[in-house]
Amino acid sequence: MTRVRLTTPLTDETAANLRIGQQVLINGVIYTGRDAAHKRLVELLDQGKELPVDLRGQIIYYVGPSPAPPGRVIGSAGPTTAGRMDAYAPRLIEIGLKGMIGKGARSEAVTEAMKKYGAVYFAAVGGAAALISKCIEQAEVVAYPDLGPEAIYKFTVKDFPAIVVNDAFGGDLYQEGRKIYAEE
């Protein structure tokens, strides 16, 4: 299958054109975030305050990178389990988050929000962290440095490989893939 090149921020139209199984190469700025950062973002929304980053049209990559050794922009940086962010993700999708990159299954609340607001969930290959780090050209912490590996980084990525697992129409590649190869 040909890989589609995407550039962030994503438009509604781009998100609407993606379907499960589509392999993509993501380019441009993406933000990182794990549980602790998500918790703070949602707390700010609850208080009616502005977020430290404008997430409209953006992609959040669920990752806690390892520290950058000398001469590198970042250490290893593969995806973490997305399900831990399920409690927070619908709120961010509601305010305009268009994409998420992680690994593992999402809750119904998240996929419903994705359908309602037109967002996409991509999987990167879990554990291929040394390889993935090669796609990250710039990295800077833009919020919550006190969280260490859980801080929000702004990554500039070039041809970051991912695959659409949940699209904006309720498709789920994990379920479909399993059905094809399950023998019992």
Partner: protein
């Protein structure tokens, strides 16, 4: 009477630090060979591609001395301490923690530990390590460092079965646990299974089972057969590499057993992602 041998804490610190880095940079040949072997039999195209990527990823990590996975884990440290060894110049467990601190700091490994499970503030140095000690005959100290990622640990489970549930109950619990884990723990997996003992002993058996070279069968033929049967059944679940569908959901099932109470049949399933990391030294 055998002579008492002394081991200095400074040696333990430097060896633990080295093992933390080695384990995170260099995936065992047994795991890499298992990727290659599975690639030949995997029927899913995406599954094959992912297995090849994992071989490539392990190569980059080893060549460039960077962690194969960003989750460099909780440092699980197994000590097999000879009963004729005298540890000098410090506290053994403090030396292990000092080694973890040094290894994670100097090796640019991620610090993934919070000091209090509810307050959740990162300790900043990846301690405390989880240390398991066994006293054995002899005058040597064997140290094994097995960094364990959170994603696969989270999908692990333990159940106290009724003896009447028997081997069928054991199989069902293992399969249900892997099925429920789905794509989350980064398949292809190594499945450590403990059967027997008490609750905590059973969990330890499952953890220890992960240290065996990938695919090496249990010495008891009936247990080895059970390992094989479970592996075949798991690989029929269809989960596949990265959970995107395929026949390589697990690379191996390793079972360890222990005697147990007449009323009990404990089963523990400790799931390891494909970054099945452990490195040992004998001092």
């Amino acid at each position: 009477m055998p002579a008492i041998r002394t081991i200095d804490c400074s040696v333990i610190i430097s060896e633990v630090a080295r093992l933390c880095q080695e384990a995170n940079y260099r995936l065992g040949e047994d795991v890499i060979n298992s990727f290659k072997k599975s690639c030949e039999t995997e029927v899913s195209q995406s599954g094959k591609e992912i297995l090849n990527l994992l071989v490539e990823n392990a190569g980059i990590a080893a060549a460039e001395s960077i962690p194969m996975c960003q989750d460099t884990g909780v440092a699980v440290v197994f000590l097999e301490l000879g009963q004729d060894v005298h540890i000098i110049n410090g506290d053994l467990y403090e030396a292990v923690n000092q080694g973890v601190r040094k290894g994670y700091q100097e090796g640019f490994l991620r610090k993934s530990i919070v000091g209090h499970p509810l307050e959740r503030v990162n300790t900043g140095d990846n301690t405390p390590a989880v240390i398991h000690t066994k006293i054995v005959p002899g005058e040597q100290l064997k140290i094994t460092v097995a960094p364990k990622g959170g994603g696969s640990e989270n999908m692990s489970a333990l159940k106290m079965l009724k003896p009447a549930e028997g081997v069928e109950g054991v199989k069902k619990f293992v399969l249900d646990t892997v099925k429920n884990a789905g794509p989350n723990p980064c398949p292809p997996l190594i499945i450590g299974v403990g059967i027997g003992g008490t609750m905590e002993k059973c969990a330890m058996l499952a953890k220890e089972a992960l240290l065996r070279p990938v695919g090496e069968p249990h010495p008891l033929p009936d247990i080895a057969r059970l390992e094989q049967e479970l592996l075949e059944k798991i690989n029929k679940l269809g989960i596949g590499p990265s959970g995107l569908g395929g026949r390589t959901t697990a690379l191996a099932v390793h079972i360890e057993i222990f005697g147990c109470h007449i009323a009990s049949l404990p089963v523990a399933v400790n799931i390891n992602c494909h970054a099945a990391r452990h490195k040992s030294v004998v001092i």
